[in-house]
Symmetry: D2
Subunit: 413 residues, 4 copies
Amino acid sequence: MENSDKRRKIINDPVYGFIKLKNEFHYELIEHPSFQRMRRIRQLGLTDYVYPGAFHSRFQHSIGAAYLMQEAVDVLRDKGFDISDKEEESAISAILLHDIGHGPFSHALEFSVVEGVNHELMSLLYMDSLNEYFSGRLLMAIEIFTDKYPKRFLHQLVSSQLDVDRLDYLCRDSFFSGVIEGAVGVDRIIRMLTVADGKIAVEAKGIYSIEKFLIARRLMYWQVYLHKTVVAAEEVLIQLLKRVKFLYSCNFDLFLTPSLEFFVKNNSEVIENFRLFSPSLIISNFDLLDDSDIIICAKMWMTSSDKVLSYLAKSLINRNLPKVHLVDKSFDDEYVDEIKNRIVAHFGISASDANFLVTNSMISNKTYSPVLDEIKIVYHNGDIVDVAEASDMLNLSVLSKEVKKYCLCYPRF
Amino acid sequence: MENSDKRRKIINDPVYGFIKLKNEFHYELIEHPSFQRMRRIRQLGLTDYVYPGAFHSRFQHSIGAAYLMQEAVDVLRDKGFDISDKEEESAISAILLHDIGHGPFSHALEFSVVEGVNHELMSLLYMDSLNEYFSGRLLMAIEIFTDKYPKRFLHQLVSSQLDVDRLDYLCRDSFFSGVIEGAVGVDRIIRMLTVADGKIAVEAKGIYSIEKFLIARRLMYWQVYLHKTVVAAEEVLIQLLKRVKFLYSCNFDLFLTPSLEFFVKNNSEVIENFRLFSPSLIISNFDLLDDSDIIICAKMWMTSSDKVLSYLAKSLINRNLPKVHLVDKSFDDEYVDEIKNRIVAHFGISASDANFLVTNSMISNKTYSPVLDEIKIVYHNGDIVDVAEASDMLNLSVLSKEVKKYCLCYPRF
Amino acid sequence: MENSDKRRKIINDPVYGFIKLKNEFHYELIEHPSFQRMRRIRQLGLTDYVYPGAFHSRFQHSIGAAYLMQEAVDVLRDKGFDISDKEEESAISAILLHDIGHGPFSHALEFSVVEGVNHELMSLLYMDSLNEYFSGRLLMAIEIFTDKYPKRFLHQLVSSQLDVDRLDYLCRDSFFSGVIEGAVGVDRIIRMLTVADGKIAVEAKGIYSIEKFLIARRLMYWQVYLHKTVVAAEEVLIQLLKRVKFLYSCNFDLFLTPSLEFFVKNNSEVIENFRLFSPSLIISNFDLLDDSDIIICAKMWMTSSDKVLSYLAKSLINRNLPKVHLVDKSFDDEYVDEIKNRIVAHFGISASDANFLVTNSMISNKTYSPVLDEIKIVYHNGDIVDVAEASDMLNLSVLSKEVKKYCLCYPRF
Amino acid sequence: MENSDKRRKIINDPVYGFIKLKNEFHYELIEHPSFQRMRRIRQLGLTDYVYPGAFHSRFQHSIGAAYLMQEAVDVLRDKGFDISDKEEESAISAILLHDIGHGPFSHALEFSVVEGVNHELMSLLYMDSLNEYFSGRLLMAIEIFTDKYPKRFLHQLVSSQLDVDRLDYLCRDSFFSGVIEGAVGVDRIIRMLTVADGKIAVEAKGIYSIEKFLIARRLMYWQVYLHKTVVAAEEVLIQLLKRVKFLYSCNFDLFLTPSLEFFVKNNSEVIENFRLFSPSLIISNFDLLDDSDIIICAKMWMTSSDKVLSYLAKSLINRNLPKVHLVDKSFDDEYVDEIKNRIVAHFGISASDANFLVTNSMISNKTYSPVLDEIKIVYHNGDIVDVAEASDMLNLSVLSKEVKKYCLCYPRF
């Protein structure tokens, strides 16, 4: 916060300029230690290994998305849609907290640190906890977040094909990575928002902006989020954690920070089954788990006697990344086996250990999923159609089809 | 690096766009683990506690400054000044490595982690070590860095009142903090550079750009680098480390990562007297010391039985910052004592312990130090004068006078 | 030119920053009065009636495109393609001059001032004349412009689906109009350029940038170039000139500047048949014909006794634009007739005169015309395919299909 | 206007993004023909001869300044200062119209077209006329403009050392010229505005922004507005008009558009003495006078039999500018005479005619005039001081001293 004076707190955001949240409650949320923790979680994991500027934190993204929510509410009210002050507060609270459950390096460790539990579930656990802390004030925010609130368009602003989350992260990630082509006309899109049949829709003259939004998103996926060197770096991180879990289960001696150990030990059942552990125990451990735990442990592991562990740790810390092939068709088993054999021979490790060094994964991106949640276009005459139908440019079948790529990583030597 | 193809490696920098270093050797330097470590050192310490976007790393700054050096060399050659390929390589190497000796959180811990040793000395230690690693290829870079190379303007481009270091950090810090007023016309200033009497100078028609550079720098100092909340946060960090050293010297049991312990234990004499320790021992420890060591330890210390330590650690991690007064005159001793007494009473600690919580420091910024190294302006007729003389706008006596402010911090309660 | 010193002339372009043309000859071309005339031709006709910032001149665009050509040549040479200094000079000359034949308000008057003659023909006439003036130095530029030069990729850089003309105007028009969504990743696209089978192509990893380029272009068409209010304003301008020609042919007395009169009198056969008039006569008149001729005449015509002429002139000067309907289907004749009848009644004019006030036109935009000139994508393995085939996103049939819209304009009253 | 729908009209400004004026009345003002005329007046005269992008119109500037006024009113109300809706409307109307009296090429012709009458007087004449047209609705706007309204800070926002006029033109001229160093932190300055003792003041923490504003303004003066080539171009334009007046007074036959002739004939007494002419006659002529009148006449004059006239006209149209010396001391009379003699000999003209070709003028810029209207800084404790006193950086005596430069122009041959 630039200004310690509570009455006129302004946040200086390099993406949008001066941001002012009108409701003092949101500054209270931001000041809570669990929210402050997001300062220590990088928004894009290891993407800075390819785009050095992409080093921004999830903290900034959450505040940026909250600002866009405030703007969207203003626009919709201006067009005559009824949104109460409490609804506005809650929608902004929901988006402020939507990513609070992210673990270290955001997505990369989502399934390896706390197996089987995604960040949305964890965010919900946090919201419940904060709701108690703030004496029930987050109740409506939780309803909006979980799509149980009757005005469903509020949920859609938090989470849908065209939510303020995506609008902010495309702009922000584009800004910090320097991939300016990923920038989205946020101002215009927000101004074109409307509500039709109780759902978020876009006025017809905004259709070109929506086309560009979908194309920009696709570009950011393949050029940034799924850039092959980023994928390789995150693969190293994932395998490193998998190796740790494996060694831990074998009672191999390795350094772990207390919070990391809590999750390595307890695995998925920790959170899947909240009855085994009190939520507050989970949260008190998660509160202290951030990017620094991974970095500090990896630095320790560089000198481990386990060859695989030390190899992966050094690879991560020194940015000594594996060779990576990213192609459209899956790899032949024989080809992969041949590489594994070379790794086995070179490192003097077992075939099962080699699986931590040679990884063969599938990555995918579906630009637009009409089944879940279509982006609706509203015409002057009141007609409402799906954007993929309204646009003669975009290929419907492609938009809704998952694009799969296959990724093979293995050590250079 | 965006492009893994060695022949055409391009770095996508959000500040300057595409950056291409022409000499492959510089990519080798960048790939060295000691250089990669700068990814884990934030350029502006805790400045993101006020400007959330200011979260960028020293890694980016070093590459940005190297890019500007390459541009400056091009301009000077274009104006007929002789710079050999080897000199160009060395000047760029020198600026790439000028900050490699920065400890965690950049300046904040400069005097508390490794007492008495500034980052330039440490950078030099690194350069010597890398020079050995690269078989003497950095010899001329070291001469330039230490101002022993005959063409002294090359040293001035690395370090002077108008070096590419400052040009880059003003632009970069302004970009990431969102304080756009701090931006500097880098392109124009570099184009106006020339050499006069063997020293870097600026063509007369660039004088307005230089005035603006000096004013922008001043603005960044008081608005960003010495913003009172940033000063308060860094004061917490400094006192935290001082407390750790104190407790360590009392054999109090506290968690330390191995590299941090090496420096806490050995203190200044480690580096002041290189004979006691081999440089390679110092470097191998420093290589593994970065922001994450401080964060992870502070998280551990939050539950320490030492009240002062735990208070400061929680203050840092949860951004629960002290009250801070920043004024033009020094504080009355009585006033400070009264506050200390209240802290003693409130926390139930000794008066000497209270000195870690109540700090009374002086901060200063001298915008321009003509004594050291004047910015020279060259007129068409060949006259060379100091900028403070050439500019009828800037107040010479003020420019060269240190501005002192006094800063009193103490816990809120 | 910012700098009068010939040796280091730099142009300060708000879109790309400092532009420096390496070859002094291009500054000679720019200084020629026929080139300077482009300062007085607005790039986007009457688009500033909708986007007030879009007031830039064709002069700027020509220099911007020349800068991009220079960049493209650098990239291609860097990739090993042979381009001689003379070829570079000529390609840059060709693009500098490609729009020199534009009449007042660029496209708007293309077919009404000099009926039947487009600006490319006129540009060619100019090039021939300048070639003589510069003693044959533009010969190769003319060959490149007319696609008679063997290295056909040079022509494609001047004029194709992916030429530096389009790259510059999309960036520039987006910048000045404030429609930032139309911005194109020029830097990246130029870096991805290559030559395959003797033609310009794009490296495979640039495909997302090309997709975005095509979408941005489409967006600029419908949001800016063919914005219905822009179309209405240009319709007024076109009808105004048609009325003038009609009245002139009836010997009606009206004010005309000498150069405008030359073209109103002589019509298309002037240029279609160069034998009737010497090219130098045409050029000497065209040299003095620019936006100001139209404005000054229109101001005079506001008080004409011809109702239609004065109505259209006032409409243009005071931005009192007609009502406009822009729809996907053509209008019923009866509907149009009914409107014409109301205009006849209201203005007390004949039915044939009403045709100047009620206009029913078709506008179209084809985003991508593979038949003429496909954008080729080159894969690592050497495969070359058309972008519409390479992209699973873009709808081939749509891309190559003309989109037609129907536009009905008539006075408000 | 981007949007023809009156209820939600938005203007797309490349400098500030989407601009929305809240009060429908201001759109009525904008649509008036006298306001539309400003589209045909370039903001920076012939500055595009040096900075090709600086081709923007006074129309854009007026709307931009109105937007900033709206923002400033919002900020001041937010801080508790009472501003009624009528006062807001009037302040915005006043700034919208503050430049409506500018003649062709803005400042350049201020004293040559309508001798002795500056644009503020002409703007006032327009405001009176529009006030009648709008049935007295502009009465308060006129009081604010003429500083007769009791809340004097409203006048200061229109016209003072720190008005929205300057804030907009510095930003806008910097944006279009590409001289990014001239950009001003408009957002921050407006947020720091307050009222003290009934006058506009700036909060103490905004002092660095004010310093930067003054330095940026100074930079824009010497680098753009008074760039020696711009000065030379405007000198040509001024002498051209002076020659026209001289020839007209000799009954020499020359082409003049009707509106230009009205002012050439009637000279200063036209407006000085409104009793001779009805204001409506003056306005009806001024309404039709814009940049195009000068351009079209100059094109005609290129072939005049008067050598001086044709020389100056060709110089202007073909950007064939005189040689220019810009120095700190006035020129020796002998030196100037010697040049005049060479011109007399070369052109075969009389000595008195040579005075139109050889000009020796003084230009000046005072960055800050405390006598008129100090920028006040308000401290937390309520103290109010002048910025030149509050800033230890800025040189008071220099700030208030006029900087004079001497400019000698004469034909190249």
